[in-house]
C-alpha cells in the first residue's frame, strides 16, 4: 500500500474532471506572490499523513505577507515524524456546506464501499455509531462501475436536491471511476465542499494506491511511496540501505525495521515465525534492536548484506536467527551468508553471542556451516521459544 501526497492526488482528480481548488506547491516562502493571493488561501503541510488539521499543519492567510509567515512556520514543523519540506497552497473556497465521502474496500463483505454524509467536520466513525441515519453506506458490485442513479440515490437519501444533487452525482461517479482506474485502496474527500456558488468541489483529498497493482499503473510511477504504510516515520539511512540490499536480488525477501535502542540483532522469518520470535524475546524482557523478516529462499548475498546491516547498528551486542521449519528457504545458503558476514566483521563469539534455530531444507549442511564457525546452532529438536530463552540467557553475560 502506498500513499500519495495531496498535490499529486489533486492533480489526478482535476485531470479526471473532479472540480478542485487551484493549487501550487511552495518550497520557500518567498515563492509566494500576489498571483497566489487573488483570493484568501489555505496552506497545508505536504506530508503523507492524515489528520493534519489536528496537528496544526493547516493554516489560512489573507495576504502575501501573512501567507509567507505561515509558510515559514509550517516549514519548521515535523508532523507525526515527517519533516515538512513543502507546502500546498490552495485558494480558499467560499464554503456553504462541508460534506464527506470515501471509497474503500469493506474487509467484511469484500466489496468496494462508499461512505457519504452531508454532516461536515465530524469523525465519520463516530457519526456511524451515534447518528447512523445521517450516513449512507453503499456497497458496489466489484465488476461494475458506479451508475448515475446509484450515486444520485446516495445523495438524495442525505437530503441533497436541486442543482447540487446533479453536481454531487457526477462528482461521485467520477470519484468511483478514479478509485477503480488507479487501483486505489482508499479515496477520501474530506471535506467535499458545497460552495456558495452551488458548486461541489474536492477541498481535501487522501488517495492511497495498492502497490501490488503498480505494475499496471505506469502513470503513477514515482508518485506513490511504495510500502509507506509499513512505517510510522520516514525510513532511516540504515533502512534505506537494507531496501537496496533487498532490491539488488529478486530472490527471497528481506525487510528491516529499526527499533529505538535494543541490544539483540534480530533476523527471523517468515511472516508468522518472525512475529512469534520477536514476542518470545520481549516476553523474556529482552530488547531486539530491529525487526527483520526474511524468507522465500533468499540468496547468500542477500543474507550476507542483511546480516552486516543488522550488526552495524550501534548497541547491538548479539544476534538471534530463527525461522519456522522452512518449506523452501535453504538453510545452508542462509548459513553461508551469515557466517561470511560474521567472519568478515571479526565478531568475537565469546563476547557477542549468536544463537541460531534453523530447520528445513538442507539443514544438515547448514548445521555443519554454523557449527564450523563456532555458532550455537539448534535444529527442529528445539522450539523457537526455547531458542529465544537460550539467546536471552547468553545475553546476560554480555555488557
Amino acid at each position: 500500500m502506498g500513499r500519495m501526497l495531496e498535490n499529486a492526488s489533486k492533480k489526478l482528480l482535476k485531470e479526471n474532471g473532479i472540480p478542485a481548488p487551484n493549487h501550487w506547491v511552495i518550497h520557500k516562502s518567498d515563492e509566494i506572490q500576489a498571483l497566489h493571493l487573488e483570493k484568501p488561501c489555505v496552506l497545508k503541510a505536504l506530508v503523507p499523513v492524515g489528520k493534519r488539521g489536528k496537528a496544526g499543519a493547516i493554516k489560512f492567510a489573507d495576504s502575501v505577507q501573512e501567507a509567507q509567515e505561515k509558510t515559514d512556520e509550517l516549514l519548521k514543523m515535523t508532523v507525526r515524524n515527517y519533516e515538512v519540506k513543502s507546502v500546498l497552497l490552495e485558494e480558499k473556497l467560499e464554503i456553504d456546506e462541508e460534506w464527506y465521502v470515501s471509497i474503500t474496500i469493506d474487509p467484511q463483505k469484500q466489496m468496494p464501499v462508499i461512505i457519504a454524509t452531508t454532516e461536515g467536520g465530524v469523525e465519520v466513525e463516530d457519526l456511524v455509531k451515534e447518528a447512523p441515519e445521517k450516513v449512507v453506506i453503499y456497497h458496489v458490485e466489484p465488476f461494475s462501475k458506479l451508475y448515475s442513479y446509484q450515486a444520485k440515490e446516495i445523495w438524495s437519501k442525505l437530503g441533497v436536491t436541486g442543482k447540487p444533487l446533479i453536481q454531487a452525482t457526477s462528482v461521485l461517479c467520477g470519484l468511483y471511476d478514479i478509485f477503480l482506474k488507479y487501483d486505489c485502496y482508499i479515496l477520501e474527500i474530506n471535506p467535499l465542499v458545497l460552495t456558495r456558488g452551488e458548486q461541489v468541489m474536492a477541498a481535501a483529498s487522501v488517495m492511497g494506491v495498492d502497490d501490488s497493482a503498480l505494475f499496471r499503473q505506469p502513470e503513477l510511477s514515482g508518485q506513490v511511496e511504495s510500502g509507506s504504510e509499513r512505517s510510522w516515520r520516514p525510513l532511516t539511512e540504515l533502512e534505506k540501505a537494507m531496501v537496496r540490499v533487498n532490491d539488488a536480488d529478486y530472490r527471497g525477501t528481506a525487510r528491516y525495521t529499526e527499533m529505538d535502542g535494543g541490544s539483540i540483532g534480530f533476523m527471523c522469518g517468515g511472516g508468522g515465525g518472525s512475529l512469534l520470535s520477536f514476542d518470545a524475546l520481549t516476553f523474556l524482557g529482552a530488547q531486539p534492536a530491529n525487526y527483520t523478516e526474511t524468507g522465500g529462499n533468499p540468496s547468500e548475498e542477500k543474507v550476507y548484506g542483511l546480516t552486516k546491516g543488522i550488526l552495524s547498528k550501534e548497541g547491538v551486542k548479539g544476534l538471534f536467527v530463527a525461522h519456522n521449519i522452512t518449506n523452501n528457504t535453504q538453510i545452508d545458503v542462509m548459513a553461508k551468508g551469515i557466517v561470511k558476514a560474521v567472519q568478515e566483521l571479526g565478531v568475537n563469539l565469546d563476547e557477542f553471542p549468536i544463537v541460531v534455530r534453523e530447520a528445513g531444507v538442507n539443514d544438515e549442511e547448514g548445521k555443519r556451516v554454523f557449527e564450523g564457525a563456532g555458532i550455537t546452532y539448534y535444529g527442529e529438536e528445539v522450539t523457537i521459544e526455547q531458542a529465544a530463552a537460550e539467546m536471552v540467557k547468553k545475553m546476560e553475560g554480555v555488557n
Binding site: 466489484p142 514476542d279 521459544e385
Partner: protein, 305 residues
Amino acid sequence: MAILIDQNTRMVIQGITGREAQMVVDHTLAYGTRIYAGVTPGKGGQNVLGVPVYDTVWEAVKKQNVNASLVVVPPAFALDAVLEAIENGIKLIVVTTENIPQLDSVKMLYTARKNNVVIIGPNTVGMINPKDKVKMGSIGGDRPERCFVPGNVGVISRSGGMTAETSWMVKRAGFGVTTSVGIGGDSFIGSTIKDLLALFEEDEETKAVVTFSEPGTSFEEDAAQFLKEGGFTKPLISYVAGRFTESMPEGTVFGHAGAMISGNAGRPSLKMKALHESGAHVIDRYDDMISVLKTVLGEKVGGVK
C-alpha cells in the same frame, strides 16, 4: 477422513510450466499425490514430469475430469485463471499467488461466493492431508512427512511457514493432523478461520483444532462469535502472534500484508480475549500448545502413537 482434499481430489495445476510450479509438481508427485493435468496457454500437448498440459481448463476438465485447481500464475494473471476455473465448474481452488492487486482479489472472491466455490488463499502455502497423502501447494516442501503425520488434529494457520511449524508441534505432542491449511497472509482471502472450523466440525476424525494467528483482520473475532453460536463444539487451541506490535505506532505492518492494526481492530490482545470468552484454549506461549494438546486430546484419542 479429512477436509477439502482426499483420494477423490483430481488436481489440475494452472501455470504448470512456470519455474516455481515445476518444483511443486516434483515434490507433489514424490509425496504420492496424483496430478491429473496442467494448464498453460500455448503449451497444450506438452507434459511436465509426465503430467499432460492443456491450453484451457475446459480441455483439462473434459479429458481428465479434474475437480480442484492449484493456481500458480503471476499476479497479473491470477484473476483470469480463477475466473476460468470457476467458469469450468471447478469447486475448489487454491491460489498460491502473492501480491495480487486487491481489486482483482475482490473480483475473484465475489465470483467464487456467487458460484459456491471454495477458495483457499490467495498468498497461501496450500494444504495437506497426510493420511491420504494428498497435498495442494508448496506445503511441506521436499519432505512433508517431517512435519505432517496422520492424526486427529486440524491445523489452520494465517502464516504458511507456521502451518508446518504448528503441525510439527502437534507431532511433537505425540499426535498428528487430519488436514493442515495455510489460509493465506492477505486481508482478502476466500476461506477464513470460521469457514474452516465449520468444515472441521463436520469431520468425524478431527477431534480438536489448532490455530496460528497474527495481528489484523477480524478472522479471530468472527471465529469466536461462531463458537459462541455453537457452530464449532470441539476443543479449539489458539495462539496469536505479534503482541509486541501493540506497543508500536498505529498503522505499522509487521509480517504479512493482512497484519495491520488500526484503532482497536486487529489487536492480538483483543483477539485472544474474544477467543477466550467463547471457550477456546488460548495459549499464552506457543510452546504451551504441547501440554494443552496432551491434556485436551490425551484421553480422547488414547494417547501418543
